[in-house]
């Protein structure tokens, strides 16, 4: 029974809970048990909110018993990335500098989840301040990939994806600044979606890079991701950059896709994201996916987006620049860590000592890069040029979408690498986000859907599907059709 509950999809669990076949408390308890049993090995969670989760589950059960209409995902458990504020529940963003902080307010995403009756199991591990592609930069130890515990689960949202792959939760929330939802999805064999920038409110999302950060749904199936997408998306007056437009009909699109017909759909294969530096098994898995999409009726052709070659360097100027400013507030004055306040030191010394002790090496590296890039005399050459590249990338997307409904590529050039393998080589680490970054720079939606396992190492591979802004439903339709055609590819044995 427990096994059935943890392996079920969110849609199946919701149906069972709402029909009274099983209670949300039972479902929640099954997942809490699974976390207790496996998280010593995986380290997906930084904080498990047992009482909060069970209380929410009971509320949903009572509503169901009373015959009330409940939300589509009411009673279904979820793992929340520790970057979202949760009132009264620790929020560390994977950093020592926020250890012990209890936010006085809920992020809009948190609030929407609670209002929809979703059961928040706890907060998941991440690279510190979402800076990283492996979750090794967490101040609380790395998360391990359930497919191979010696390997990384991707990052920064490795905790959320690992929790899905380890059957600790059927749903999770991630945030994607340069691929932090999609790349972990790819290397853990789960679905991860970065919606259109502004589609999901950033209020309460502890900022890394404001113009790139976007929260999105993570799940084991495309339909589950779509159901979650509709819970968290929508205009929010608390976020000026949130889009005041109807939420794209992603659930309907996912259901439509399940019919398996993609006749007439035009798909562009981005030529920049293949070839050298790509693991052969990843490319073979991608080619197999292309063939399957053709069989579903799609028209497929190559498309070149030349400025995508400059996406990575542009990203590594824009994101650090914004982060150098966003992270300035962590100064020991109002919350979080305070070091050296022994009555002999000046404010500046306490600020400095706290930031020295509280931030990890990657965060410091990016603050320094960003501070440099914004300095007078360097601004135009670095931040200014990067913004121009950003415009070019947006134009490349626009041109490509004149001829294609969606674009595809591998999500990440390799399967999960070994923990520690790239720890001392930041450039190699940054390359994990090569294919995912353009969509962040352009603000367009993109998702990763598993394309099975690499034939050489048996590890999951991700297919990235990209769509024009506010056309999130297009990629859901393609992903759902592909997912059905692809069939099951097994799961990790843990």
């Amino acid at each position: 029974m427990t096994n059935d509950l943890i392996h079920a999809t969110a849609a199946e669990l919701a149906a069972k809970i709402h029909s009274g076949e099983v209670s949300s408390v039972e479902v929640t308890q099954a997942h809490l048990d699974r976390i207790a049993e496996t998280d010593g090995k995986v380290n997906a969670f930084l904080h498990v909110d047992t009482e909060g989760a069970l209380a929410q589950a009971r509320t949903v059960d009572e509503a169901v018993k009373a015959g009330e209409t409940v939300g589509a995902l009411a009673g279904v458990p979820l793992a929340l990335k520790d970057v979202m504020t949760t009132e009264g529940v620790p929020t560390t963003v994977g950093s020592k500098i926020l250890e012990g902080w209890l936010p006085p307010y809920d992020a809009t995403v948190t609030r929407k989840l609670k209002e929809a009756g979703v059961v928040i199991l706890g907060k998941t591990n991440m690279d510190e301040f979402a800076m990283g592609s492996s979750t090794e930069n967490s101040a609380y130890g790395p998360t391990h990939n359930p497919w191979d515990l010696d390997r990384i689960p991707g990052g920064s949202g490795g905790g959320s994806s690992a929790a899905l792959a380890a059957y600790q939760a059927p749903l999770a929330i991630g945030t994607d600044t340069g691929g932090s939802i999609r790349q972990p999805g790819a290397v853990t064999g789960t679905v991860g979606v970065k919606p259109t920038y502004g589609g999901v409110s950033r209020y309460g999302l502890v900022a890394f890079s404001s113009s790139l950060d976007q929260a999105g749904p993570c799940a084991r199936t495309v339909l589950d991701a779509a159901l979650l997408h509709e819970v968290i998306a929508g205009y929010d007056h608390m976020d000026s950059t949130s889009i005041n437009a109807p939420v794209p009909p992603v659930v309907a699109a996912a259901r439509e896709g399940l019919s398996g017909d993609l006749s007439g759909l035009r798909i562009g294969v981005v030529t920049q994201f293949q070839g050298e530096g790509y693991q052969p098994g990843v490319l073979r898995s991608f080619q197999a996916a292309v063939s399957q999409l053709k069989e579903l009726g799609a028209e497929i052709a190559d498309v070149s987006c030349p400025s995508f070659d400059y996406a990575l360097p542009a990203y590594y100027l824009i994101a650090p620049s914004e982060c150098s400013s966003n992270l300035a507030r962590f100064d020991a004055m109002r919350y979080g860590l305070r070091v050296g306040d022994d009555g002999t030191r000046s404010t500046e010394e306490v600020m400095s000592l706290t930031r020295e002790a509280g931030f990890g090496p990657e965060v410091k590296r990016r603050i320094m890069i960003g501070t440099y890039a914004l300095s007078s005399g360097y601004y135009d050459a670095y931040y200014g040029s990067a913004q121009k590249v950003r415009t070019l990338i947006t134009q490349d997307f626009a041109k490509a979408f004149e001829n294609f409904d969606v674009l595809i590529s591998p999500t990440t050039p390799t399967t999960a690498f070994k923990i520690g393998e790239r720890a001392n080589d930041p450039i190699a680490m940054y390359k994990a986000d090569l294919c995912t970054i353009p969509a962040n720079l352009a603000g367009t939606p993109a998702m990763s859907v598993p394309s099975g396992l690499s034939d050489e190492d048996g590890l999951p591979v991700g297919l990235q599907i990209m769509a024009p802004a506010l056309q999130d439903h297009r990629m859901y339709r393609v992903a759902a059709a592909y997912e059905a055609a692809r069939g099951a590819f097994g799961g990790p044995s843990l």
Partner: protein, 500 residues
């Protein structure tokens, strides 16, 4: 610790140098809510009670622009004859300071909402100087630090500091002039006159409390000296903490004499921020403005650009009230005042009061006469500003009305005003309570006149002999006997009639 500062004689400064002014005024808007959140924008209040995640800069919080503040910024820009940007953005000004919750200030950098304007400023002698406005931009205020245990109240030497974020995020408009050259010996006066004119303008626009003492209007004065011999631009200092109009003038004057002395002794003026001290009237070195200070401005990614439509701008132009200089011109014409009289009224802060008294029904010359003579004396005696006297223009108008209807004599009217000033109530209440009444009953007056004539038979005889001017003594006696409540003209008529 403080060394005595050498100062040059002011006339000598002017002989050798041309002062160049630049003025930056920060004005706190009195919108209901803060610039980027829904917290109340109120002066005072228990520390840290008007705060929320956004104005405390908590992780995850985001700003949302207060539309009312943008509206005020545009109206200020229009009143200052500025161009209004068709598209502009906020920018982050990055620096660390404990009273700034995010360690950056959300401000505007190279894309201000208003730019290229001017303000005509009238000096004390009536000369008008046009001050060019560089820009007016929107930003947020910081919190307040209270440094405890130090001698100076400043952070240096303090034992600990307390932080109050009630003010953090209050909407500010920063109005920056272009360099103001050519003011010569009148530089200090020009500085004061500019801030005064700006204050009156902002008041007329009803966008701010413009209270310098409460910090809702703050002025930073940039001063540099250009040697007449070379005409080269000098290094400027920026004097902060200038909390009154008078201080603006004193601070500029002090900096001129200090900088001249520094230059004269072969030294160099250091580019720095200086603090003005009210009590000593001097400035002292504050934060060094090193050229290395780099705010790393970049466009605020949490806010979308502001693009005020031309229709909206024109609609706002239509909401501009009568501006102070327009009003003065109108009043001068309507009341038929000379330039000198108008200027005296303006300088005495009497114009608003007189106009309000006129609006309440008095004639302009009657209203003017009350405010600039008797009431001005009373203010002077009490050591308060005319505007702070506890009497309203409407009450003054009522007193004037009572005189005009014959219910009060001028003397009684002054007593009625005294009563109002003493807090005894409205003019009518004072008249009632103090029993102030013109004695208009002829039989009572005749009796009093007869008594007075009987008491002074020699005077009575003189009047009967045709020496009419002697009647004054009898009138005076009657007025005294009736405690001033009689109409002196009527008394005189009766005296003459009795003696004919």
């Amino acid at each position: 610790m403080t060394s005595l500062v050498e100062l040059m004689d002011y006339d000598e400064v002017i002989e050798k140098y041309d002062p160049v002014l630049g003025l930056e005024v920060h004005v706190e808007l009195h919108t209901n809510t803060k610039m980027f959140c829904g917290c109340a924008n109120e002066f005072g209040g228990e520390p840290n009670t008007h705060t929320c995640p956004t104005c405390l800069g908590l992780p995850g919080s985001l700003p949302v622009v207060n539309g009312k503040a943008v509206e005020s910024a545009i109206r200020i820009g229009l009143a200052l004859n500025c161009e209004i940007a068709e598209w502009c953005r906020f920018a982050r000004k990055n620096y660390f300071y404990p009273d700034m919750p995010k360690n950056f200030q959300t401000s505007q950098y190279d894309e201000p909402i208003a730019f290229n304007g001017w303000l005509d400023v009238t000096l004390d002698d009536g000369e008008v100087i046009r001050v060019e406005i560089e820009r007016a931009h929107m930003e947020e205020d910081t919190g307040k630090s209270l440094h405890v245990g130090g001698a100076t109240g400043r952070i240096h030497g303090a034992e600990h500091s307390l932080l109050d974020y009630n003010r953090a995020g209050v909407p500010l408009i920063e109005i920056v002039t272009k360099m103001i050259p050519g003011t010569k010996e009148r530089a200090p006066e020009v500085a004061r006159a500019y801030v005064t004119a700006l204050r009156d303008l902002l008041k007329a626009l009803d966008v701010s409390d413009v209270r310098m003492d409460q910090g809702s209007l703050r002025c930073d004065a940039n001063v540099s000296l250009s040697p007449k011999t070379t005409g080269a631009l000098g290094t400027r200092t920026e004097t902060k903490n200038v909390n009154s109009l008078r201080s603006v003038e004193r601070a500029v004057r002090f900096e001129m004499t200090r900088q001249a002395a520094v230059l004269e002794s072969g030294g160099e003026v250091i580019q720095e921020t200086r603090h003005f001290d009210e009590s000593s009237g001097s400035t002292s070195s504050g934060r060094k403005k090193e050229t290395a200070e780099d705010y790393r401005y970049f466009p605020e990614p949490d806010l979308v650009p502001i693009a005020p439509s031309r229709e909206w701008v024109e609609e706002l132009r239509g909401t501009l009230p009568e501006l102070p200089w327009e009003r003065r011109a109108r009043i001068q014409k309507e009341w038929n005042l000379t330039d000198e009289v108008l200027r005296d009224l303006v300088n005495a802060n009497a114009l608003d009061l007189i106009e309000a008294t006129v609006v309440a029904g008095a004639k302009p010359d009657e209203a003017r006469s009350w405010w600039v003579s008797y009431l001005a004396q009373q203010a002077n005696t009490r050591g308060v500003e005319l505007t702070d006297l506890p009497i309203t223009p409407a009450q003054v108008a009522r007193v004037i009305e009572l005189v005009n209807t014959g219910a009060l004599t001028n003397k009684l009217a002054r007593e009625a005003v005294n009563g109002v000033l003493e807090g005894e109530g409205s003019p009518d209440e004072v008249v009632e309570k103090r029993g102030l009444k013109v004695v208009s009953d002829d039989s009572a007056l005749e009796k009093a006149v007869d008594e007075a004539l009987a008491a002074q038979p020699d005077v009575a005889q003189k009047i009967r002999d045709g020496k009419v001017q002697a009647a004054g003594a009898i009138v005076g006696a009657v007025m005294k006997a009736t405690k001033g409540q009689a109409d002196a003209a009527r008394v005189r008529e009766i005296v003459l009639a009795r003696c004919s």
